[in-house]
Amino acid sequence: MMPTLGLIEAFDRHGALLARAPVTHWPVTVGRGLDCDLVLDDPFVAPVHLRIDRPVDAPRRVSVEVRETRNGATLHRKRYGSGARFDWPDGTPLEIGRTRIALRLADTAIADEQALPQFPWRTLAATVVLVALMVAAALGSSWLEAHDASKYLKSLPGVLLSLLMGLGIWSGLWAVANKVFDGHLQFWRHVRIACTAYLVAEGVQLATSLAAFAFSWEALSHFAYLLMVLVLAGGLYAHLAVVLPRRRVGLAWTVAAVVALGVPAWLGAQWLDRMRLSNEFYMSSLFPPSLRAAPAVPVPQFLQETESLRGKLDRRLRDDGHTKDDE
């Protein structure tokens, strides 16, 4: 019996094994032809697509020759056409057509045996902590708005239930998508992402309105909604990256492009519609007075600044588009 020199395997785009052949001699051919050593069913693969060899003079190398093919082969995102020759580093996947080829050599060291995963106590703890924090944040926020303790306590179960149901449905839908595209549910992972996004959003909102109050940074309050858009985009990216883990780079670009195009488009539409970029006319979030750091100015100084309204209103009279309607 011939010794096994290696193992050549073919996977589809999702990582499922399509074909495998032990290597008993060099060179090895890959293609659709039945005389190949590794026979593939991929219609984008030539009858004899690749010839793989280990040169005698350099036994550590694996060299690949691309045969008569229309689509060539791709290694490290570099495409090699018909007749090209190149070295195939150990452990790197090589793409031909819609198929990914991997090669294991007999003389390569075998990685250590991995321990079976333990029960994920840490992940569980993280999940519990995140859900608890989110519930605490939501209940705290509704407590701030409640005027009556007994009414608040009565409404508590309802609030809690709707919160958890909302979280469950949201994460559940992502988990279904995950199952469809990636084969795993990853429900709890989506729960963690959702909770984190919620907490970050609450934190950002609190921080911006507090900073706006403390330092009288009105602009921060007027445009806090843009920060919220970024948080939302981050959360969506995190969910999507779990659903399509191999497309992370593409997803990141997509989400970034949607934000980069959507936000200016929305701002532009706001400007055209009402000549302002924020719908907030004035900062309305007030905190206990001890948190105020910005000084209070004398009334005349403030009214002097108010003079600037005259110019702004003149511009509005000129440009806000209502004058023409009347003519």
Binding site: H147, S216, S284, F287, P288, P298, D325
Partner: protein, 473 residues
């Protein structure tokens, strides 16, 4: 005369709404015939809403049975019937009625006195509207607008192409003061139903009215606007102008002296054929100047809310109403105050010239600082502002800052929006939230309509400087 049909027309319903907001006694033509209970007596208006307002048309009360009238009323009616006219503004294109009111001849060459709000479309959109007068006999003729007084709500028209000298109502001499309770008769054409005389009493001048108005204890109805109110001898003592919606037989007349003055001004005036926004603006400028001076002349009165001292206008200048704790907010003591100066004027199809002040004082010792801050913020954040521009004015622009008038740090916001066709006039809103106590707070709001920019800032300064905190001894 083609009488209104049952079928409501869109124009009419629009006008109906307009008319309601006009706070005057002008009648748009309305489609409901007598007997159709189109609109009932307005529901009790909360005491805060005080402006004189007109009833929506279709009050069946319009044509009270004449049997109720005394013999005097009958004499008055006979005496003045040929001197009364109905004033209609018609759309030039379609010749349909846009609004109607009443008027009366004051000179043989055909000068007619009516309200500005009856003739405002002739002043502001002469290219779209024309005016006609209709006598009690149905004789019709064109009118031209000669002069108007926006502040007093008066206009003088001239009947064109009139050959015969007009029969004239004479004015009661100013020297002959009216006695409280004296009988007066108001004439006009309510709701386009027909000429009517209503009897009532003279009750002196309206208290706190910015411009003198006679308090007429009788009925006025939409459509009687601009009609004369006469004494027992048939001499004009006032011009019908408005009524209160939340009361019965609480109506208002413009004293005749202002009509007389305007007639003198109009006698040699050229007819107005171009949109008269310039003149309207000029008169509104005078109005706001007078208003600002009145407010700045005296310091504000101080009103206490806990340790807060807030400014309210002098009692002679504005009415204030207050209310106590709101049962829907347990654990929160909330006091409200609303003040309004009775100074609004009709400037075409909108009102302006009013000054309003409002306060909400919060005290919630048991609520805790965080929850109080949330409640207080929400209340501060829900103020209504001119969010979008419309054809009268632009959207608001605001500035904001922490200010300290001395003893009380405030978050102050000043918002202004500009009138499009009244250059130099603005609506101003000043919002105030105190930031000195963790579980007490006060929100204030000052609205000034139709004010010049500089005067607005002067009023804002006067207002903001008057807030004080008086620590407990």
């Amino acid at each position: 005369m083609p009488f209104p049909t049952l079928r409501p027309r869109p124009l009419v319903s629009l006008l109906l709404v307009l008319a309601c907001s006009l706070a005057t006694a002008q009648t748009p033509p309305h489609p409901a015939p007598v007997g159709t209970p189109a609109v009932h007596t307005p529901v009790a208006v909360p005491p805060g809403t005080l402006s004189p307002v007109l009833t929506p048309p279709a009050q069946a009360a319009a044509a009270e049975p004449t049997a109720a009238l005394s013999r005097d009323a009958r004499r008055i009616y006979e005496l003045s019937r040929d001197k009364l006219v109905q004033i209609r503004t018609l759309l030039r294109n379609s010749n349909t009625q846009a609004s109607i009111g009443s008027g009366f001849f004051v000179s043989a060459d055909g000068l007619i006195v009516t309200n500005f709000h009856v003739a405002s479309q002739l002043a502001l959109e002469p290219e779209r509207y024309r005016g006609v007068y209709v006598t009690m006999e149905g004789q019709e003729g064109e009118v031209e607008l000669l002069a108007f007084d926006v502040q007093r709500d008066l206009a003088v028209l001239r009947a064109k192409a009139r050959t015969a000298p007009a029969p004239v109502l004479s004015f009661r001499p100013a020297a002959e003061a009216l006695a409280q309770g004296e009988r007066i008769y108001s004439l006009g054409n309510p709701l386009d139903i027909g000429f009517a005389v209503t009897e009532g009493t003279y009750n002196g001048l309206v208290r706190r009215s910015f411009y003198p108005r006679i308090f007429f204890g009788g009925t006025l109805n939409p459509g009687m606007s601009g009609g004369p109110a006469v004494d027992d001898a048939g001499r004009v003592l006032g011009v019908n102008v408005a009524k209160r919606l939340d009361g019965e037989q609480v109506s208002f007349l413009i004293p005749a002296e202002f009509a007389q003055a305007l007639v003198q001004r109009a006698a040699n005036a050229a007819p107005i054929t171009q949109p008269a926004y310039g003149e309207v603006t000029k008169q509104l400028m005078e109005h706001q100047q007078r208003l600002t001076e009145r407010f700045l002349k005296a310091p504000f009165q101080e009103q206490r809310h806990g340790n807060y001292r807030v400014p309210v206008p002098d009692d002679a200048l504005a009415r204030c109403w207050g209310s106590g704790r709101d049962p829907s907010f347990p654990g929160l003591n909330l006091e409200r105050t609303q003040c309004q100066a009775d100074s609004d004027v009709v400037a075409g199809d909108f009102n302006t010239g009013t000054v309003r002040l409002g306060y909400e004082a919060y005290d919630a010792p048991t609520l805790g600082a965080a929850r109080f801050a949330r409640v207080f913020s929400q209340s501060f954040g829900n103020e209504r502002l001119q969010k979008r521009g419309n054809r009268h004015q632009t959207a608001a622009e605001c500035t904001e800052r922490y200010v300290d008038p001395g003893s009380l740090p405030l978050r102050a916001v000043v918002c202004m929006s500009a009138y499009r066709k009244l250059p130099g006039l603005y609506n101003m809103t000043v919002l105030v939230a105190t930031v000195n106590q963790p579980t007490q707070g006060l929100l204030g709001r000052l609205d000034v309509q139709g004010v010049a920019f500089d005067n607005g800032l002067k009023l804002a300064n006067h207002y903001l400087q008057a807030f004080r905190w008086e620590a407990a001894p």
